[in-house]
């Protein structure tokens, strides 16, 4: 009796354990089956990266600006160990049985720049994403653009890496069998830009004697930028791949600041080039008769102050055209006085040339124009006056512009006051900018500017190219830290402007002597390559 009861209890224990197992199996295999299946596949899969191709960058003539070379990447587990390893080193790692277990290697395409340092800051380089990039969802092992065009058009150029999933056993041996369909890599798309790499190489050869400077070439009518040359530059190939870390720190600490893209980040006083604005304001306000002369004896007296002309002995009697041709400061002091500080500053406010031009580069900086608040802050409420406008009128005031802004100003003049903003990507749609001046006045100015190159006493004579009508203006920006910056801005041909060229050479002296001949050679080169074939 007692035993029968006990056995019944044992039997219920058996039934209980059966149901316990039944429920647990039901839970694992029926309810969570798919989940476990997924997990099991994950554990048995080795994720193998299928690197994507970054899009190429081509210049306006289809010449390759930026493409690829093969390199190897060494991973320790899943995290990056060494970037851009050479074949011999890879073999060394793989031959060692200890390290071959630890390391994973795959080939990928690193950037290669055939033109090395030409337009380096404008083209830019690639690198591994930083923390912020990873936070916004960038694959931490996918190289992205860091600077310049590589950065600005990263979304187009950058592809996305794919994966394949290979069967792996518990010891990490991988079999050539896929555990799930691969995620195919998506290659980036190529871009074509308006740069002319051959032009860049030519400009570089012209800058050989100089340490620092910049050159901008653009098409005034379309806004296409053919050259954003900044010296000193760096070799892009050193900044991408194996040597990128050491090279970057080297470049960052260089006292000549090669990382600076002077064309869009360098702020310079425009010097006499700014006289074109003073002239236009005066014409617009009917303050001058272009044929009336003023006597320039080398100095201009204003109140108890004396303002000097760049030419000690003076230019004699000059009218508007002569004044521009010889860049007479006294003439412009006089008309600046006529304009007055208030009117001058209100024109500066209306001009859009001090803002970012909107070129497709993240690094671009604003220029600087003074206003009343600035003067009050700097000199106190009564510490400034009409004397300041005289300096502004000849471009030696507080105004600062980037080379691109100055080049764009000349493009605007070339197009009689209305021109599209400069841009680099081929066929990019850009907005037009308009100067607040009448077309007739701009045409008068252009006629005067023609004399700068073609007049007997023109300051830009050295840019002369036989058979070409070039419209230009020299500028010498005073530099408190050393020798002046030589500048020259021009466009050509006069009748149907095709190119704007701006050249600045830092700490070298007069614009007409140094910058104008460089610009002239660039003009000649452009003429040979682009204009002669049209005729």
């Amino acid at each position: 009796m007692e035993k029968d009861f006990s056995i019944k209890v044992l039997n219920s224990f058996l039934i209980f354990s059966f149901f316990l197992f039944f429920l647990k199996l039901f839970d694992y295999q029926v309810l969570k089956g798919e989940f476990f299946e997924k997990k099991a596949i994950e554990i048995k899969s080795k994720k193998i990266r299928l690197p994507s191709k970054r899009g190429k960058i081509l210049d306006r003539n289809g010449i390759i600006v930026s493409y690829w070379r093969t390199g190897f990447r060494l991973l320790k587990g899943d995290s990056l160990y060494k970037e851009d390893v050479q074949m011999e080193e890879v073999i060394r790692y793989l031959e060692d049985p200890d390290s071959s277990k630890l390391f994973n290697v795959y080939a990928l395409l690193y950037r290669y720049y055939p033109f090395e340092n030409i337009f380096a800051q404008t083209i830019g380089y690639t690198g591994l994403p930083d923390k912020k990039d990873v936070e916004r969802g960038i694959d931490p092992l996918l190289r992205i653009g860091k600077v310049g065009l590589e950065k600005f058009y990263d979304d187009i150029l950058r592809g996305s890496d794919g994966y394949k999933f290979l069967l792996m056993d518990v010891k990490g041996r991988v079999y050539n069998r896929e555990t799930r369909p691969p995620l195919e890599p998506i290659d980036g798309r190529d871009i074509t830009v308006n740069l002319d790499m051959e032009l860049g190489r030519f400009i570089d050869s012209l800058f050989k004697p100089f340490n620092k400077g910049a050159c901008v070439v653009m098409n005034p009518k379309s806004g296409e930028v053919l050259a954003l040359y900044s010296k000193p530059a760096y070799n892009l190939n050193y900044l991408t791949g194996k040597t990128e870390k050491e090279e970057l720190s080297k470049v960052v600490n260089d006292s000549l600041h090669p990382l600076l893209n002077r064309c869009i980040q360098g702020l310079y006083p425009p010097g006499s080039i700014f006289k074109v604005i003073t002239a236009l304001i005066a014409l617009e306000e009917n303050l001058i008769d272009t044929n009336k002369t003023i006597n320039c004896d080398g100095v201009y007296r204003f109140g108890n102050r004396v303002f000097k002309d760049w030419k000690k002995e003076g230019h004699g009697f000059v009218n508007f055209f002569k004044a521009i041709e010889v860049s007479c400061d006294v003439y412009f002091y006089e008309i600046s006085r006529r304009i007055g500080l208030k009117r001058f500053l209100s024109y500066l406010e209306k001009l859009k040339i001090f803002e970012k031009t909107g070129i497709d580069l993240f690094e671009e900086k604003n220029g600087f124009r003074p206003d009343f608040n600035f003067y009050i802050k700097k000199y106190g409420k009564y510490g400034f006056g009409e004397g300041n406008v005289l300096n502004l009128g000849i471009g030696q005031g507080e105004i600062l512009m980037t080379p691109l802004q100055i080049a764009f100003l000349f493009s605007l003049i070339a197009c009689d006051g209305k021109a599209p903003s400069p841009f680099l990507l081929k066929d990019l749609k850009v907005e037009e900018v308009e100067l607040p001046f009448k077309k007739e006045n701009i045409r008068i100015l252009k006629k005067a500017l023609l004399k700068v190159v073609h007049g007997e006493e023109g300051t830009g004579r050295l840019s002369y190219v036989p058979g070409l009508k070039i419209v230009g203006k020299t500028g010498t920006a005073q530099n408190p830290f050393g020798k002046d910056h030589a500048q020259f801005a021009c466009f050509f041909p006069f009748d149907d402007p095709k190119f704007t060229v701006y050249v600045i050479v830092e700490n070298i002296g007069m614009g007409g002597e140094i910058a104008a001949p460089i610009a002239g050679k660039v003009v000649n080169w452009l003429n040979e390559k682009y204009l002669k074939s049209l005729q």
């Binding site: 056995i7 058996l14 354990s17 647990k24 694992y28 295999q29 989940f35 554990i43 010891k171």
Partner: protein
């Protein structure tokens, strides 16, 4: 009589079915571990099956006069393995032949225990302590091999016998309280709740004498208070770790917790219908540890899915309940022997599948008649054969 004969056939068929599924499973596993496993398993099966038939056909003589000799032989073997072998002392090697001693002594010990049980006249505390001592000896010897899982079988067997024998409620409660006391002592709060409630119960049941109450109080308090002492002072670091990882497997990255996880993944990824025979990838890539022994069930569940594994545990259920029924039909020594056979198979079933499913700690007990393991297969076949031999006699 007729009913009993039917039991014989039924048990034999289920035994063959389980063995067949086991052979299939070992075949699939051996493809990634080398074919010798499969061939050996086949030999074990043939040997085991022959012995089962042999023992079911003969009448086992009852050596009542020197049944203590069986006990002494078993103890001798269990001591021998400890003395003779090095390292983990589970297998005794004699010439080219080696066997797992804790399994091999089972027929002798169960024979001895069954006779012992049938001879017990008095049913008091003292008699039960004397009886417990007989189980404590093999338990301790196996424990130091070390083989915790196999050692606990003897405690389990004792529990079954005590439960079935006509001991008083007090005696039975004594052992129940002792084991609950140990289990609850893993956590102070659970021990506190258990001890208060059970002490209250002991003092409110009127039929208990003072003697009962004192002994039961000791059963409630003493083991629970000893366990923390043993844990802190007598256990080795790795043993403590194992216990900790069992209680909290997430802490253990690649040990038992990892093994259980792999078992779960294998079982779970089988789904309802399974991946198909020979197609289980988790074990073929060696993610499943001990796929042929401890985790044989997981490997089977991966290939044959929920329906397959349900079928397998149903087979065990029918086998075990048939054996249980047989023991109900029997009296005295035979009933206890059949119950011993039941305990052996049930213990392996419960502990192995429970361990693989993550309900119990992993102990390394193979699934009887299904996992790879010669001694286990043959010894349990013998036990089953002897039990079946009792069906030929009617009372």
């Amino acid at each position: 009589m007729k009913n009993i004969l039917k039991v014989y056939n039924r048990v034999l068929i289920i035994y063959l079915l389980i063995s067949f599924l086991g052979i299939l499973n070992i075949f699939s596993i051996s493809r990634s571990f080398g074919g010798h496993l499969f061939l050996r398993h086949l030999v074990y099966f043939i040997l085991g099956f022959s012995l089962l038939i042999f023992f079911s056909k003969i009448n086992l003589p009852k050596w009542r006069e020197f049944y203590y000799l069986f006990f002494l032989i078993s103890i001798f073997l269990l001591v021998l393995v400890l003395v003779k072998e090095e390292g983990i002392k589970r297998w005794l090697r004699i010439g080219n032949f080696s066997f797992q001693v804790s399994d091999a002594v089972k027929p002798f010990l169960i024979y001895f225990y069954s006779l012992n049980c049938s001879l017990i006249k008095k049913r008091d505390y003292f008699e039960s302590f004397k009886m417990f001592f007989l189980y404590l000896i093999p338990f301790s010897l196996v424990l130091v091999e070390p083989d915790l899982g196999s050692a606990f079988f003897y405690i389990f067997l004792f529990g079954v016998y005590i439960f079935v024998l006509n001991f008083s409620v007090g005696v039975k409660l004594f052992y129940i309280f002792s084991s609950l006391s140990i289990i609850s002592s893993l956590n102070f709060i659970s021990f506190f709740i258990f001890s208060t409630l059970s002490l209250l119960l002991v003092f409110f049941i009127k039929s208990f004498k003072a003697f009962d109450r004192i002994l039961l109080s000791i059963a409630i308090l003493l083991p629970g208070l000893t366990v923390p002492f043993v844990y802190n002072n007598l256990l080795k670091e790795y043993q403590r770790k194992r216990l900790k990882y069992f209680l909290n497997p997430a802490e253990d990255p690649k040990g038992a917790g990892w093994q259980v996880l792999q078992g779960k993944l294998a079982i779970g990824s089988g789904g309802i219908l399974g991946k198909g025979f020979l197609k289980g990838s988790h074990k073929s890539l060696a993610f499943l540890p001990q796929a042929y022994s401890d985790f044989a069930f997981a490997s089977f569940a991966e290939e044959f899915g929920f329906l397959g594994s349900l079928f397998l545990i149903l087979l065990y259920f029918f086998l075990l309940s048939s054996i249980l029924n047989l023991s109900k039909e029997k009296e005295g020594f035979e009933a206890f022997f059949v119950l011993g056979t039941f305990s052996s198979i049930f213990y392996a079933f419960f502990v192995n599948i429970g361990g693989v499913l993550g309900l119990l700690p992993l102990t390394g007990i193979p699934l009887t008649f299904f996992s790879y393991g010669g001694t286990n297969f043959i010894i349990n076949s013998i036990l089953l054969g002897i039990s079946l031999s009792f069906t030929r006699k009617s009372y």
